[in-house]
Symmetry: C2
């Protein structure tokens, strides 16, 4: 059981050569070093107990430390306990189809919304990837935008309490607030935070100001300061670190945040999933056959090369991508997961069997998701924020 | 008469130490050197004849070479002659009350709109000065914005063909187009064009992308390329030079432009008028008494120190601010202006008399303007662009 409560597998394969920022994730990420480097705080057992007091149960991503770090989460709970409810803010930058790695923080956010019964603002920065990817056209971004909105809605957010902001469409509301942030941000600050240089385009330099806006826009709209909690993958932290520095200068609260590690790509533990490479990611629109093919063909296995060896020595769940997918997302039952882990480690469970179980779990999730997707198409208007 | 057709007075007092960009105008501007430096073209007599073919008369600011340079104006006429009408684009960045120097290019634009019967887009970049002036609050900019819009409308534009764009309010339309420009603009490019450095804020770095938008937005809206002509004071040229480089890469025409020199500030020929310093500028809301005081007290005189000396040696109209105001703006009649010039040069006309004449002219203009201002308050809605 202990192993389940450790940080994700990646610590096992430490590497000096990793790099994490919103525009570049490389190497095998050492999350403990990242905690020190970014200055976030590890989520303690005491903090988990405090959350549990309000939520009755803890989400598997908290129990398993998939969400492993935070900034000011205790303050969010202080305010909540005083009756000052927070709102949630998360986002998705369209540049391709969404994959199960994108769903990870969204599903956790959906749980937070439900258990705390709070408002959620979802930003779709439809200019971001267009600005950062030379080859991506504005028109492609817009196609993916529509599709990504449908995926996000299908993940099950409360339509009465969820507000979608689309940067280019809501710029009439957001640009002026972004300018207030931008006035406090110099080239030199964004250069060091994001690894920019003199050849970086001015849209990319400005962009982080737009990403800051949803952290205080609800306060501007309601003319009353509301605490903000941002669940996000750890690579986005440089944006919110800057946001936290600047917002108090504009008379707003510092937003709190809670960070998750990356769902490993199919081929193993380096970098992030990418929608544009079939071998790395399972998309939310993949068919059951394609999922089966991808897991069987590409999912890195922690099993041994031969049946005999595996039976004798056992597999290594910590580096087995199928096992990790169960742990991160698809097997919420701790007892079942512990049994799978033990059986795999002992050699009782074979790689093929583990893969088959994982394929079944993923396909069950995707079947439901894809059905909800069809309904979500009609719900878009309910979710998009109207002034 | 010859003197009248020369470049404005400033050439007479050449200075190595001048600097002209949208964010800094210093020293005595040498317009001939500026033409070479910026790469604009001097307006030739042939070009004036060609304009006159369409306009019957030439505006005093063309006859007197107040508007002295251009880019691609011949192309605008080529297209016009083929039946492909251009639109005009000019702007005003609110940061204070408007003065008569601001009215100068606006009045010329108003004439162009009338004689060519074309659409005009007026941009109010209400974020620009907020971003560039450390001490200017967003709220102050917004107060001046309302007031400046009223001044601009009062200058007499055609309500059916004039469309006001306010950056923060029209960002829903403009921001996405600005991002397309921004993707083609690097830090290094804006740094050298505007004299920025690593401490410049990212809003300022991005801003020129917003100023580029009205040069092609009407084409985007009408889904058909329309030539654009931008009348502007020469200090804005760095913005439009970048715009001209980028627009063809986005499938749009290069905008054409026509440049005017600066109306001299009250104290003489260095720099530009500034609304924030009483001694430098006559505001469009000044009372007749205040105008009288400002001209009498601050307007630099080209006259001699004593009456006797003046009668004997005469004054120098080229450095006399009152005379220059007549030439730039308030005495459209060339014959009258030539007589004033000759009489002043000969010593027949005294400084006090020239000042009194100028005060009368300015106050007559302001009286009408201020009356139109009252009516303009009710017309704002007619002018602000609606999608």
């Amino acid at each position: 059981m202990t192993n389940l409560y450790k940080l994700p597998l990646l610590l096992e394969r430490m590497d000096e050569q990793f790099k994490v920022n919103p525009y570049d994730v490389r190497g095998t990420v050492d999350y403990d070093r990242l905690i020190a480097q970014f200055g976030v705080e590890k989520i303690s057992s005491d903090l988990l107990k405090r959350i549990k007091k309000h939520t009755k149960n803890l989400h598997q991503m908290l129990r398993r430390r998939i969400f492993f770090a935070h900034r000011d989460l205790s303050w969010i709970l202080d305010e909540y306990e005083k009756g000052n409810k927070f709102f949630l803010y998360t986002g998705r930058a369209p540049s391709g189809q969404m994959h199960i790695g994108h769903a990870l923080p969204m599903l956790f956010t959906q749980w937070l919304q439900k258990v705390f019964d709070v408002d959620l603002w979802v930003q779709f920065p439809d200019e971001e990837k267009f600005l950062f990817k030379q080859e991506l056209s504005y028109e492609s971004t817009q196609r993916y935008l529509q599709d990504n909105i449908i995926d996000v809605i299908a993940l099950g957010f409360n339509p009465k309490k969820t507000h979608i902001l689309i940067d280019t469409q809501h710029a009439g509301l957001m640009y002026k607030e972004a300018c207030k942030v931008a006035k406090k941000l110099t080239f030199s600050m964004v250069k060091s935070s994001f690894g920019f240089n003199e050849q970086t385009n001015v849209g990319s330099l400005f962009y982080t100001s737009m990403q800051a806006v949803p952290a205080f826009l609800p306060s501007v709209i309601s003319k009353k300061e509301i605490p903000c909690l941002i669940p996000h993958a750890i690579d986005q932290d440089p944006h919110f670190r800057l946001t936290r520095d600047i917002l108090p200068k504009l008379g707003h609260y510092k937003p709190a945040s809670i960070q998750c590690s990356f769902l490993p790509p199919l081929q193993g533990t380096e970098g992030k999933m990418s929608s544009s490479t079939e071998e790395t990611a399972i998309l939310l629109i993949d068919t059951p056959e394609l999922v089966k093919k991808k897991i069987n063909k590409y999912a890195f296995s922690g099993g041994k090369d031969t049946l005999e060896e595996h039976r004798k020595l056992g597999g290594i769940p910590d580096i087995d991508v199928s096992f990790q997918y169960l742990k991160y997302l698809f097997e919420p039952d701790d007892k079942k997961l512990a049994k799978i882990e033990a059986d795999y480690r002992s050699g009782k469970l074979l790689s093929g069997e583990l893969k088959a179980y994982t394929i079944g779990k993923i396909n069950a999730f995707l079947k439901e998701h894809q059905a909800r997707r069809e309904k979500a198409r009609e719900d878009v208007e309910k979710f998009v924020y109207k002034e």
